[in-house]
Each structure stands twice: as C-alpha cells, then as structure tokens.
C-alpha cells in the first residue's frame, strides 16, 4: 500500500502532471497505511485481562486501629491505614500554608479513619516506608521514602524532601462499611 504513495510522489518530481487517478491511488495508500497502524498501536495498550484486574476489592474487617495493610492495585502498592484519633487530629490541624502541595485532610479521606493511598513516592516512584510498626515514619509521623528522603505526614501529604506532590489517593468507593473497591 505504501508503494502507491511512492508511485505518485516520485512521479511529481519529473513531470508535474498530477492526475486525479494518481492522487486517488496515493490517497488510498495513505488511508490504508493509517488504518493498518491503528491495530498495532492498540496492540500495545492494556489488554482485556489487564483491564479486568484494574479494580481491587479490599475487606477492611481485619484492619485494626493504628494498623496498615498493603494491597496491590494495577501492579502498584496501595496503603490502607486505619488511623488513630491522634493521627486524624494532627492531620486536620495542620495549616494549609505549611504544605508544599496544599490539600485539606478532609479532601483526602472519605471516612476520616480510613486513609487510602497509592504507595508510590511522587518523586521518582519508590515505595515509602511506614507501613510496618518498626519502619521509620519520617519527621511527620506518616511515611518516609528511603530513596531521596521525602517525608509524608499522617494524611500522606508531602512535608519535606524532594517529592513535589502528596501521595496520590486512588479512586475508591465504600461498597459497605467494611469493604472498599479501589479503581
């Protein structure tokens, strides 16, 4: 099909006569080549089995106050934390002017005790520490990224270090009081 295109292109160099039929042939070639390209581009996009796994349901019953679990969503870790009263209060009391990426805590948690975060540092994609009790939680009691020293607070907001943005909150919904669906 591409040959039709070259046929007319080269032709124009020598003689200038551009017949309708040559233009039509070249046009068909271009349209055909474009139509052929699409399946190949689409081929590299996520396939049906990958898309089918793009939602994850999480049972919250086993998670106790002050405890975190990590679940996988789209191949990435998602932090699910049941925050203590103290953590919620600290997060809520923080002044927005103290934040590099200002966002109120209320805008980051649908129910204050449940904090759901994509556990990927917004700097260069490492997984911050802070999920296990023994982990360093950084200067603001949330998470600490060991790669380049970003500190996140109890709402997952960036407070110190090179990361430009708060930890991302994935789309999620409460299916009932103890089940959420991420994605």
């Amino acid at each position: 099909m591409a040959e039709a295109a070259t046929a007319t292109r080269g032709h124009a160099e020598g003689e200038t006569r551009r017949d309708f039929i040559y233009l039509a042939a070249a046009g068909m070639g271009v349209v055909g080549a474009g139509a052929v390209a699409w399946p190949f581009i689409s081929f590299m996009n996520p396939s049906a089995d990958v898309l089918a796994l793009s939602t994850t349901e999480v049972d919250l019953k086993p998670v106790q106050e002050g405890m975190s679990i990590t679940v996988t969503w789209r191949g990435k870790p998602v932090f699910v934390r049941k925050r203590t009263k103290a953590e919620i209060d600290t997060a809520a009391a923080t002044k927005l002017s103290d934040l590099p990426d200002p966002q109120a805590d209320a805008a980051r948690a649908k129910k204050p005790e449940w904090l759901i975060l994509v556990g990927v540092c917004t700097h260069l994609g490492c997984v911050p520490l802070g999920q296990k009790t023994a982990d360093p939680k950084g200067e603001y009691g949330g998470w600490f990224c060991p790669c380049h020293g970003s500190h996140y607070d109890t709402s997952g907001r960036i407070r110190k270090g090179p990361a430009p943005k708060n930890l991302e909150v994935p789309p999620y919904a409460f299916l009932d009081d103890t089940t959420i669906r991420i994605g």
Binding site: G10, H11, S42, S47
Partner: protein, 408 residues
C-alpha cells in the same frame, strides 16, 4: 551514476555527504527494466512486502508471547482473546507464512520456466535458494512456538532427522534439543533463532538485490536488453504494476485472514502439546509436504534424509545442470512440457506428503521422488544438448519474427 538534482535543499545537503537518495533514485527510480515483464515478475517485490509484514507482525507478537512450555500455548491464546487486535496480528503472521511460501514458490517456478538462473545470474539464483533455506528454518521454528500438539511433534520428528547422521547423530540431536527430548530449552532457542533468522533473510535479500541490479531483470523472451529502446525506468512503470499486483495479493490475503484463517492450519495445533500422546496423523505445514514425501519415499533413514536435503541442494546446481543455451521456455517446446510435468510432480509429492505412507501412496511417492531427481540430474543436462530451440527474436522491442504462441 549521475546524481539527480533534488529540489529539496535538505535532501541535497544530505545526499552530497551520504548519497542514499542518489542510490535509491538510481536503484528504484531510473533502474532500467525490460519493457516486456509479465505479471509473473510481480512475485519478487511481493515476497519483499510479505517479508516486511512478517517481521513487523512478528516483532509485535513477541511483545505478548511467552517462550516457556508452561505458558506458550496460553500466551498465544491470550493474544487471540484478550490483547487488542491480537487475533488480527496473529492471524496475519500465521497465514503470512503460508502466503510467503506460495509467493516464493511461484517466484522460483517462474525462474525455472524462464531460465532466470542462467549466466550471468547464477549467483542471483543461488542467493535465492539460500533465502529459501533460511525461510524454511524460520518457518519450522516459528511453527513450534505456539506449543500445540503439531508444534511439539513436528519439532520432535524434524529434529530427529539429524539422528540419521552416522556416529554423531544422537549427540547432535541432544545438542539441538538442549536436553533429552524437545522441551523448554528447545522452545527457548527456537524462539531466539526464529527472531534472528528473518534479519539474516533481509541481509541475503539485499545481496539478492545487488546481484539482480548487476545485470537487471530477465524477461519472458530470455534475450538480453540490447539498448534503451528495450527498457523502461523502474519507476513509474513497475512501481505502478507492482502496486496493483500487491493490491490483488492483499485481497486474497485478507480473504483468508478474515474469513478462513485456519485454512492452512492443523486442528491438532489447538490442543496444547502433550509429550505423552502423539496425534494420529503428524503432518508438517503444507509448504514442507513435498520434502516430507521425499523423506518417506526412501526406506533407509539416512538416505531418506539425504534425499530430502538433496532435493533442495540440487537447486544450487541448477545453473550448471541445465545445459541449454536458450533461457526462456517460450523457445524450448520440449522443456516447456517437462516443466509442467515437474510442477505436477511437486504437487503430487505434496499430496503424498499429506497422507499416511500406506498402500499406493508409497508407490506414487517413490515414483514422484524418482522423477524429481530425474528431472534435474538427467533430463535437464541431456535435453539442453539435444533440444532444438525455436528461433529467437532479434530484440525485445523489435521482434522481427512473429512472437511465439502464448506459453500456455
């Protein structure tokens, strides 16, 4: 090589330092071609188009394929079901192999009919046979990758051919397998080589082109181009003709890909490979059937293998086996008849290869095999000496004699 004056300044700047545009202009645009090429001359460029299609679809399929015995079959089915347009790209690749062989076989028989292998184009022909061998190796290894029943048992049978070699046969087979049977190491190396060989084919195709452009295309009359009146520039004449031929080919190809994609396939290859159960009829892909028939026609294991490989190696010698001075079968009335006998012989061999070696198939297979070698080793050398060719026309543009009757 007079450099053409390119209008585009950037093109001129580059071409002055790196004359790729002059090269392309010279080889694809001005390239003088005989003015009397028939549609049988379309199949060379068509083969090139299919080679590109195969490489592109293959590179994409490799993005989703998993070369492991436990996952290969499922990964191919995942491509067919879940990957966007995976079914399309896989069916193009799968049927593209068959169409590649159809085109190349027509191309080869065209060369035989018109004596395209004769001096000074012997190396052009030999490079073509090298391409055929590389294609066969590539196709064979590619067929193993989906890891269906035919993949596995085809691989087992074909690799076992090498066990016919005296003394070292078994060691060679173990080496080919990387184990004691066709297994994961075999699949992995076949995948590696299946990805590599097409690029070797591209390299040999380029040499094929260099050799072709040395003396230019042959032509249906088999006489040399005598001057500018006999030739026309490749572009736009043959680009237009090749583009139309490609359109016809794409229609046939699309018809199979979209409406009968398993036409050339074996149902057994949709059953995952099982090393404990051999399917009742093992047959290679259709394009290997004639060789398979030759292999089975000879009751001795080693001689059978030698005959099978010999059936291709005899093609290397063809330029010297054919002693005739006249190229085109148009002017060789006796050879022309035997050419068609050979075509039928090859079809019969293919048919015998597709059937179990029982009853009259054995006899027919042996006769057809014997005839195949008779044609190349005895008939061609003798016929060239005794046949009286028809008078040749003076030149392509001015045939002083009445043109010979249509070839068939």
């Amino acid at each position: 090589m007079a450099a053409p004056a390119f209008k585009n300044g950037l093109v001129r700047w580059i071409d002055h330092r790196l004359p790729v545009f002059s090269f392309l202009h010279h080889e694809l645009h001005d390239y003088p071609s005989p003015k009397n090429l028939s549609y049988w001359w379309n199949f060379g460029s068509l083969a090139g188009i299919v080679l590109v299609i195969m490489i592109v679809t293959g590179v994409f399929l490799a993005m989703h394929y998993t070369p492991h015995t436990a996952y290969a079959f499922d990964s191919v089915e995942r491509i067919m079901r879940d990957v966007n347009y995976g079914w399309l790209i896989r069916y193009i690749h799968m049927n593209g192999a068959s169409f590649f062989f159809i085109i190349v076989y027509i191309h080869i028989f065209r060369g035989m009919y018109y004596g395209s292998y004769k001096a000074p184009r012997e190396l052009l022909w030999i490079l073509g046979v090298v391409i055929l061998l590389l294609m066969m190796a590539t196709a064979f290894m590619g067929y193993v990758l989906p890891w269906g029943q035919m993949s596995f048992w085809g691989a087992t049978v074909i690799t076992n051919l090498f066990s016919a070699i005296p003394l070292v046969g078994d060691a060679i087979v173990t080496w080919l397998w990387g184990g004691f049977s066709v297994d994961n190491p075999t699949l992995n190396r076949f995948y590696s080589l299946h990805y590599l060989l097409p690029f070797l084919i591209v390299a040999v195709v380029m040499l094929h082109m260099v050799a072709l452009h040395r003396f230019g295309s042959g032509n249906p009359l088999g006489i040399d181009v005598k001057g500018p009146q006999d030739s026309i520039p490749f572009h736009p004449y043959y680009t237009a003709k090749d583009a139309f031929g490609a359109g016809v080919f794409f229609i046939a190809f699309a018809g199979v890909v979209f409406f009968s994609p398993n036409l050339f396939g074996e149902p057994d290859n949709y059953i995952p490979a099982n090393p404990l159960v051999t399917p009742p009829h093992i047959v290679p892909e259709w394009y290997f059937l004639p060789y398979y028939a030759i292999l089975r026609a000879i009751p001795d294991k080693l001689l059978g293998v030698i005959a099978m490989f010999g059936s291709i190696f005899v093609l290397f010698l063809l330029p010297w086996l054919d002693t005739a001075r006249v190229r085109s079968a148009k002017f060789r009335p006796t050879y022309r008849k035997f050419f068609w006998v050979l075509v039928v012989d090859c079809i019969v061999l293919g048919y015998v290869g597709a059937n179990p070696p029982e009853g009259w198939f054995i006899l027919v297979g042996r006769i057809a095999t014997a005839y195949y070698f008779f044609h190349f080793l005895i008939l061609l050398p003798v016929l060239g000496l005794i046949e009286r060719p028809l008078p040749l026309p003076q030149s392509i543009s001015a045939p002083v004699l009445k043109p010979a009757e249509g070839k068939a």
